[in-house]
Symmetry: C2
């Protein structure tokens, strides 16, 4: 298994993704240059094109990978219990996952408009699949009469916006721990759908 000196394919690929995510989260896609990404990784700009055909594809692959991880992680959860327990599980899962990955979350949310129309559509489909996880819980609770949810699609977006908003200001090592945050948000989510 001899390997040429200076050959780091399995190392450099992930490092490009990671550096690009950090830089794009901080400065925005259009403001980040291929040279900056390359410098962060420690290679020359031209070397990036061994890993991606162009800058747009680099962004899209990054965003898609993030959304697929999110969907996989959600699929691994058990949201089949009573609606209230399922809603709490979803709330805590969503918070934990999103705080764990503040940078890709931020990119996936902020850079939708930087995608080509086809790539945008593909990502929207993934996002909607994730939203459907929460919508299903809300519908079950409404059917059981334990939730008051006149419009599950609207409530889904409202709750996800509330929870995801966390990532714009929460910082580890601040006044509150992640668990304290989840303990503050869960009663708000619960109350927002509680009848009367």
């Amino acid at each position: 298994m001899a390997r040429k000196l200076g050959s780091h394919s399995e190392i450099t690929g992930p490092r490009i993704t990671s550096a690009a995510t950090t830089l794009i989260a901080r400065h925005g896609f259009a403001a980040v240059t291929m040279r900056q990404i390359a410098a962060e990784v420690g290679v020359q700009a031209g070397a990036l094109y061994l890993y991606t055909p162009d800058k747009q594809t680099l962004l899209f692959d990054l965003m898609r990978a993030h959304m697929e991880e999110l969907l996989d992680a959600a699929a691994a959860q058990d949201f089949s219990g009573p609606p209230e327990a399922a809603l709490e599980a979803f709330t805590r899962f969503h918070i934990a996952f999103h705080l764990d990955r503040a940078e890709p979350v931020f990119v996936a949310y902020m850079e939708l408009r930087s995608l080509t129309p086809e790539n945008f559509e593909a990502l929207e489909r993934l996002r909607k699949r994730y939203e459907e996880t929460l919508t299903a819980i809300l519908r079950r609770g409404a059917a059981d009469g334990v939730f008051d949810v006149p419009d599950p699609a609207v409530t889904t977006r409202a709750l996800i916006a509330m929870l995801t908003g966390l990532t714009t200001w929460f910082r580890d090592g601040g006044r509150l721990t992640r668990d304290e945050i989840a303990d503050l948000y869960w009663p708000m989510v619960r109350g927002a759908v509680r009848p009367g």
Copy 2:
């Protein structure tokens, strides 16, 4: 009141602001060029520099103007009634104002990272002043025992994120009217802070 032909100072200024806001909301600050803005207004790129010293200042002035309008509009409201009535008034005001100005709202939220550090700080101060309007209502309600708000700063951010999230998907002429939206959101806000 003779005016030189081709002199449109009072017309062109606002048109630049408006065109820049639309383009930046759609494509992002870094992706929009001075030439694009000029073309939208119907002048040449060089002419923009009669109205702004540089691109960064154009962005900042736009965002600051928006935040000042928001603060002025909030100051003109009466949030001095009983906490629950004040919270409902704030909710409906916030929704109405933000749906009326989807583009500047989007820019003010998404382009914070495109500002220089000094400009960022200035805008953050304005944003915090606005948040304080809601925090004050929440504190009053908590003191009266009509709201359960263990952490007013966190609840403020959670509620504002929920309400502002609307602007990313609401479109006039869609399934729901603005009033229907407000009637869906107010009970969620109320429930999120309702005791037990």
